[in-house]
């Protein structure tokens, strides 16, 4: 294999990966409704988007679910990672395998499992059910992100702190937390993007009273072409990319 061929192949795959997104972005500022011909630059789809109250409300709901579920998942996940790394306890192996299983379980299986649970417990499908579901599928990602950071740290500092009389909470809040903060923040951002982008689980566990953005977009694109979708997709894409870049930078960030 020659060098040109290798770069060519890598370039081709990257082109394949980016071209649909590029088409969406171009069409979001394209005057043509059906987006097959270029008919001049326009912002009218963005204007229409911001005038679409139902869509804006769905976006607001998504934001609320995203922020609350990412925060809860980060708190629970960080504590879980610390517990898995620091403590021995009964059922530790079972907890690790549950984390592993919940990451590998296909979304659709998790979705119906939670739906059955909610219906059995009589939890109304809406904000609360969405929140629980989103926390559940974000949790393993936070745990793994924080856990791998913990593994790379020198834990003798915590033993020193214990010897000097710090209790577990002080060790956690004054020593461990500052050291793992980049991974915690990265886990939050990751959870937030996962939550904002989820279609499969949300489709099952939300009710008609609480519409969120991906499902609203889904119902719009099912009935046909709507250029506002290009605009909202472009915004979603740019937003996700910004968050992911920040989260990756945080993971690489090393304390001096």
């Amino acid at each position: 294999m020659t060098q040109t061929f290798k770069f060519g192949f890598i370039g081709l795959v990257l082109f394949y990966v980016y071209s649909p997104i590029f088409v969406l972005m171009v069409n979001s500022v394209n005057g043509s409704r059906y987006g097959n011909k270029w008919q001049g630059f326009t912002f009218k789809w963005y204007e229409k988007l911001f005038e679409n109250d139902a869509l804006m409300q769905a976006a607001w709901h998504s934001l609320v679910v995203g922020i609350t579920s990412a925060t809860a998942a980060t708190v629970i996940g960080t504590l879980a990672a610390v517990a898995l790394q620091r403590y021995r306890f009964y059922g530790k192996g079972a907890v690790s395998s549950l984390v592993f299983v919940s990451m590998l379980t296909p979304d659709i299986v998790m979705a119906i499992a939670l739906l059955i649970l909610f219906v059995t417990l009589g939890i109304e499908l809406g904000y609360i059910s969405l929140l629980i579901a989103h926390i559940t599928f974000c949790l393993p990602f936070v745990i793994i992100s924080v856990f791998s950071r913990l593994k790379g740290l020198d834990m003798s500092v915590t033993e020193a702190a214990r010897d000097l009389g710090a209790n577990e909470w002080q060790v956690f809040s004054k020593i461990i937390l500052p050291m793992i903060l980049p991974a915690v923040a990265s886990g939050w951002l990751l959870s937030f993007t996962l939550s904002i982008d989820d279609v499969i689980v949300s489709a099952f566990v939300t009710g008609p009273g609480y519409e969120i953005l991906p499902l609203k977009v889904y119902s719009m694109v099912r009935v046909g072409v709507s250029p506002e979708v290009n605009a909202i997709s472009t915004l979603l894409f740019v937003g996700s990319v910004v968050l992911i870049v920040i989260s990756q930078l945080l993971l690489r960030y090393k304390r001096k």
Partner: protein, 290 residues
């Protein structure tokens, strides 16, 4: 003070454990139980043992649909593998400072909304879409092809969405490959094809199996891909499950289908363990070898 020590420990362990037990373990068991219950028109399910759900799974008309979905998922995995494996090999031969950057560029789009990206593929594959336009333009075809709403479109969309799930495990398997083995084989006269077939492939087999696992299972569940690209004719297992839960309201059948997916997951995990064992035996260097 002792109280406080235990309190932190208690919450750290208790919170996650109870969350996972309540929202992962219990619901999974409930799916299993539901698949053996009786369907009820008014209350969805009745607590009465029945095999109706499982009988529907083994209904011949459904088996053919299941087969269609499975074969689409398998073809998707093959396409992903065909792109991912050479891609990773090209990547590995680049200077190591380039690798994370290219890998990152590849991963970025996949953290964005998959629904939106499938919608974009509708643009590409449509009658007046870019692919038809391009092929008409260079005179490859006379009239636009029906690309959308075919199994081809569904497979195209699935392999597009799931490609990174094949690339990442293969990449991490390839990273662990001991390059000295390849040098030794070269010195002993093995040509490039022999080195690939006898060394690289067997040693990266766990990566291939892990990648396939992460492609095949979601490929059977992504109902929105079949909805948007396949029309109503080319349904995936995910569409059937969704219908049972949201429209037809046959919960035992839908639950049985989910159990089926979990069985498939366990089978592939078992394959993964076998592959890891195999690659260790076939000359991979382990700590235990010393």
């Amino acid at each position: 003070m002792n109280m406080q020590i235990n309190q932190f420990r208690f919450w750290a362990i208790g919170l996650a454990t109870s969350w996972l037990a309540l929202f992962v373990l219990v619901p999974s068991l409930m799916v299993l139980v539901t698949s053996f219950l009786t369907r009820d028109p008014d209350f969805l399910i009745r607590f009465e043992f029945s095999l109706d759900g499982w009988r529907s799974v083994f209904d011949p008309s459904f088996i053919s649909l299941l087969w269609d979905s499975l074969s689409m998922a398998l073809i998707t995995a093959c396409i992903c593998l065909a792109i991912a494996y050479p891609f990773v090999m090209c990547l590995m031969s680049l200077p190591s400072k380039w690798r994370p950057i290219i890998l990152f560029l590849l991963i970025v789009p996949f953290w964005t909304n998959s629904l939106v990206r499938i919608y974009a593929i509708q643009y590409l594959l449509g009658k007046k879409g870019l692919i038809n336009d391009a092929m008409l333009g260079i005179g490859l075809i006379d009239k636009p092809l029906d690309l959308l709403y075919t199994p081809f479109a569904v497979i195209f969309g699935l392999s597009y969405i799931l490609l990174p799930f094949m690339i990442l495990p293969i990449y991490s398997a390839m990273e662990k490959l001991d390059l000295r083995l390849l040098d030794a084989a070269k010195d002993l006269g093995a040509n490039a094809a022999q080195r690939l077939w006898r060394i690289t492939l067997p040693l990266t087999l766990p990566g291939i199996v892990a990648g396939s696992l992460m492609v095949i299972l979601p490929a059977m569940g992504m109902f929105f891909v079949a909805d948007l690209l396949g029309g109503s004719k080319h349904a995936l297992l995910g569409n059937v499950i969704k219908n049972q839960f949201i429209q037809t309201r046959d919960w035992p059948f839908g639950a049985a289908l989910s159990v089926l997916m979990i069985i498939l997951l366990s089978f592939m995990l078992w394959l993964y363990y076998r592959a890891t064992k195999l690659s260790n035996r076939q000359g991979g260097i382990n700590d235990s070898d010393f």
